[in-house]
């Protein structure tokens, strides 16, 4: 008898048992109301009515819709998504860049030394900073919904939504890049009596430009992803077509458009990664 059968040994108590059970119970108690409020009920998934609806919908996913007319529509929608993201990001750069310059403190004359109207800088910078926060803390899809109500269905709403929301983000990040870079050249120009404009263009911009462009390209990639989703509230492009097909429960069309969406994202990822590698 060399080996003792496992059953004959006294079962060792799990040393971590108390803590593990305690943690699980605490988590369950904390999250219980969340499950209540979120109407957590897996039974709805197998209700005959829902099951039939989903089954019918999924059943139509194959074969994919590959008619020439439909593919032309998908192609046009994908181009529209690409165009509205690009136009939106361009407007966001045009809008966000000057705002970032305005809030940038490394251009503050007041920091160089006492001067007239030193109080004016902070007074002007604070509301612009608040505006940037407002622009970026309302999600892009909420902006899209608001613009759809204001200017109607279609890509214009998407362009404006990206322009506003991304200008808020770009403004903040551009500002951080200006501040994080080497500010000594700008300071030297200011201290030598140079104007703020030349301090910015000769002191700050040359150092910051690769990072500015790299981040903008990254945001362009995000804008494409976002613009597909914004289509669901009517802001044009592939998303709007997908929403229409879903509403008609045309699964074949939805599956074709999902594939088109994944391809579009893949292309945007690849292009953006390649461009950013060039920049660093």
């Amino acid at each position: 008898m060399s080996a003792t059968p496992a059953a004959a040994l006294p079962a060792p108590r799990d040393p971590a048992l108390g803590r593990r059970v305690g943690l699980a119970v605490a988590l369950a108690v904390v999250l219980w109301p969340a499950f209540e409020i979120a109407e957590f009920n897996p039974a709805t998934l197998v209700e005959p009515q829902n099951l039939e609806m989903m089954g019918r919908f999924l059943g139509t996913f194959f074969p994919m819709a590959l008619g020439a007319d439909f593919l032309a529509l998908v192609w046009a929608s994908a181009l529209e998504t690409l165009a509205l993201a690009t136009a939106g990001i361009a407007l966001a750069i045009v809008l966000g860049f000057p705002l970032a310059v305005l809030v940038s403190e490394s251009l503050s004359v007041a920091r160089v030394g006492p001067g007239r109207r030193a109080w004016l800088g902070p007074v002007l910078r604070t509301p612009i900073r608040a505006l940037l926060i407002l622009m970026r803390s309302i999600p892009e899809i909420v902006w899209a919904l608001l613009f759809v109500r204001a200017v109607g269905l279609g890509p214009a709403a998407g362009v404006l939504a990206i322009a506003i929301n991304y200008a808020g983000m770009l403004g903040k990040v551009y500002f951080e890049i200006f501040e994080a870079g080497d500010t000594r050249p700008a300071r030297a120009i200011l201290e030598a009596g140079g104007g703020r404009t030349s301090a910015f263009f000769y002191g700050i911009l040359p150092v910051a430009v690769p990072e500015l462009v790299s981040y903008s390209v990254y945001r362009w990639e995000c804008a494409i992803r976002a613009s597909v989703v914004m289509g669901f509230v009517g802001a044009g492009g592939l998303g709007q077509q997908m929403e229409l097909s879903m509403r008609m429960l045309a699964g074949g069309e939805v599956s074709t458009m999902l594939v088109a969406f994944l391809l579009l994202i893949f292309v945007a990822d690849t292009v953006s990664a390649a461009l950013r590698r060039l920049l660093v």
């Binding site: 829902n50 200017v151 462009v213 903008s216 879903m246």
Partner: protein, 261 residues
Amino acid sequence: MNRGAFVWTPWAVLGGLLAAAAVSFAYLGVDFVALLSGESARQMAAFAAGFYPPDATPEFLARATRGAAETLAISAVGTLLAALIGAVLALPAAGRWGAVLKPLARFGLNFLRAIPELVWAAFMVLAAGLGPFAGSLALALHTGGVLGRLFAETLENAPRAPTQALRDAGSGATAAFFYGTLPVVLPQYVSYVLYRWEYNIRMAAVLGFVGAGGLGQMLYVSLSVFKTHEASTLILWMIAIVAVVDVLSAWLRRFLGRSGA
């Protein structure tokens, strides 16, 4: 590279981006100048002015608060389910259940992750009906893909020695996992889950646009019937949630960073 040399690449990329923007504006054919001036600008200004003041009647505030609670609940339930999905799928994706299941699990995770939350939500509204449960499921599916991938990476990088020691001592595979591997990877798992939860709170606020409950669904309905005062209360709630989550997560990160976790 010589320090004084002018660097062309960023300017070339910027030029390319602006050229692409010009082509894009031409392709879209929307006259933004006309859209943002004259009569349509006046209409937009009137529309914007309609948002003031926010609806602050006690009845509506109570409903909006309930909507905010629903949004938080959707994010919590969705993230928790996602953690479970991720934890289970990470095992085959890290190659623990053999070479055949590994690529299959990876494909499954990539698929879950590639479809945006909002598209999942539109599907889940069909599968589970309108309401917050559809939103939780949508978050669970997309985030499950994200977390599964992160968990699988963590598992692959986890040291094998503790598990092997338990196995050599005759422990079963399941017990070896729970006592040899899980304690090693759990802190990393938890930090990933918290990070995605933060992200999902923002997401849960807007999933309602396709009918998946929370503040988003209320906002969509309010704007559909042009109750702009209600809409501005709801938007303020969304901003408040995002701001609070930002502050809390920054605080939590500092706190965790200090304790060395």
